[in-house]
Subunit: 307 residues, 2 copies
């Protein structure tokens, strides 16, 4: 990537950003050199993770919040992380169609981010994409993930704050989600609040988290209701956490997580070199023949390669 392309990225040029974004998705080794150069220009964006089960209306909600942030003259980046699933690809991409109105707005960059993350996994690639949007001057960055499996835990290691989207239909399910929600959520949204049972769900959540300082907001993305309240809530949460020092320690923690993840990646690569001789295959055969168990084999190999 040329110096002038880097200048274009720092100016927020959509095409230059899109082009580096594609390289990040592909896991291109050229990416790191560029990120090293743009990294000094990062650290200004507010990164908001938005997670929740499929069908809770995350995309519509982000769409509406984006419009609200644009009204407030903030630039917005949106990464809809598609975990390259056999079974979910269609849905995530389909959702994006709804955001078409923002595609013509220079202040918004939208990307349905499909990657398996060739080096350090999906999280590493998403971190790179966040740095890119941050350097390109996006002031608010939404990272949308489908909350399944371990994904919703990882989002907390990527974003400054996490919005979890629920719906009134979830009813008693929330009870079983208490520990998980307490672990990752900063703001709980009961979306589709136009449906029956919304008030009860909010009351249920308030009772459940009476000891936490959660913000709980009921919205209807489809009817565009209470979106301004939600954005106000996000901004208030940010202000509060800057004032009480939590924001700064969260920022440090994100840097720590990224550094550790990069270190692991590096150690993996070195490990692969060290075991590239035939000793690996010898052990594999012995394990397959049940002449040694894998746990003892690892102890032996670790000793041999000096770990």
């Amino acid at each position: 990537m040329t110096g002038s392309a880097i200048k274009q990225i720092l100016k927020g040029d959509g095409r230059a950003v899109a082009s580096l974004m594609s390289l990040i998705e592909d896991g291109d080794p050229k990416v790191k050199a560029v990120l090293k150069r743009i990294y000094p220009h990062t650290g200004k964006a507010h990164v908001i993770g938005v997670t929740g089960a499929a069908g809770t209306g995350k995309s519509s909600l982000i769409d509406r919040m984006t419009a609200e942030y644009r009204r407030r003259k903030k630039t917005v980046g949106i990464l809809a992380v598609d975990p390259s699933s056999l079974f979910s690809t269609g849905a995530v991409l389909g959702d994006r169609v709804r955001m078409r109105e923002h595609f013509v707005d220079d202040g918004v960059f939208i990307r349905s981010f499909a990657t398996r993350g060739s080096h350090g996994g999906v999280s590493a690639a998403v971190r790179e994409a966040i740095h890119l949007l941050d350097a390109a001057g996006k002031e608010v960055i939404f990272v949308e993930t489908i909350g399944v499996g371990q994904d919703q835990l990882e989002i907390a290691a990527l974003a400054h704050m996490v919005v979890v989207v629920l719906t009134p239909q979830m009813g008693d399910e929330v009870q079983g989600m208490k520990a998980g929600l307490a672990e990752i959520a900063d703001i709980l949204v009961v979306n589709k609040a136009d449906l029956a049972g919304a008030d009860e769900t909010v009351q249920q959540l308030e009772a459940l988290f009476v000891d936490e300082d959660f913000h709980i907001v009921a919205t209807s993305a489809i009817k565009n209701q209470k979106i301004d309240l939600l954005v106000e809530c996000i901004e208030q949460h940010r202000k509060e956490s800057v004032d009480n020092g939590k924001y700064q320690s969260k920022r440090l923690n994100l840097c720590r997580q990224e550094l550790l993840s990069l270190l692991r990646e590096k150690v993996f690569a070195e490990l692969a070199k060290k075991i590239a001789d035939d000793s690996l295959e010898t052990q594999v055969k012995l394990i397959a023949e049940r002449q040694i168990d894998p746990y003892s084999a690892v102890d032996k190999m670790a000793k041999r390669i000096g770990i």
Copy 2:
């Protein structure tokens, strides 16, 4: 765990198996010593991964296949892997209720396996659970995972073969799943074949995979139709792959994956010790202040700790 408990496991005693299974779920450090002792008795089970989107009827299908295998006098182990998700816990556990009839059968061990995998992640814990059921004499082991995110890729690194469950309702979606299916599936099941469109879905799949040697079977778990055909198909696939040598190389590959994953886990632990001094925090602060980028920081640290 005492020697007599280990003897009980090897005899297939349900309570001894359940007790070690709980320790595996908890990530208890005592587990490895026991696994080392039972490992020589493993390697006999046929491990079948069953994956597919929520609502495709995976659990019912496994339930019916279990009955068919029992009719054939085979013992069966079932691990329903619950990825400890905020949003999916209820569904997986609810499904299990349907299998109640097998709970009183000594030849079947069923476990809804909920773990975050304290050391090497969920995959490591599932591998341990498979070894346990294998050592306990279960001849067929079903590993059920919800196919979301990266999970369905991991199942291929855990099982001898993978059955992917689809439904007639998926229609044109399968087109977009071609690459993913080709990568992991050995057998494609169109379940809920009592619904309209089943024949078309089978034809679509046959056209899509005309160059692959997939087995494609249409079943109805709920009406108990074609389950014997599916089991026959699994057995035939196994026989074929033993005959053409693919089974042996798959077995080697599973051992290789496990060994590499254990090696990584070990290297992580050593890495954590090496960076436990304050150099990590110094770098974190420099990164947060944008005085260094994380990529250069890693290069520096790696050098210092001699990676």
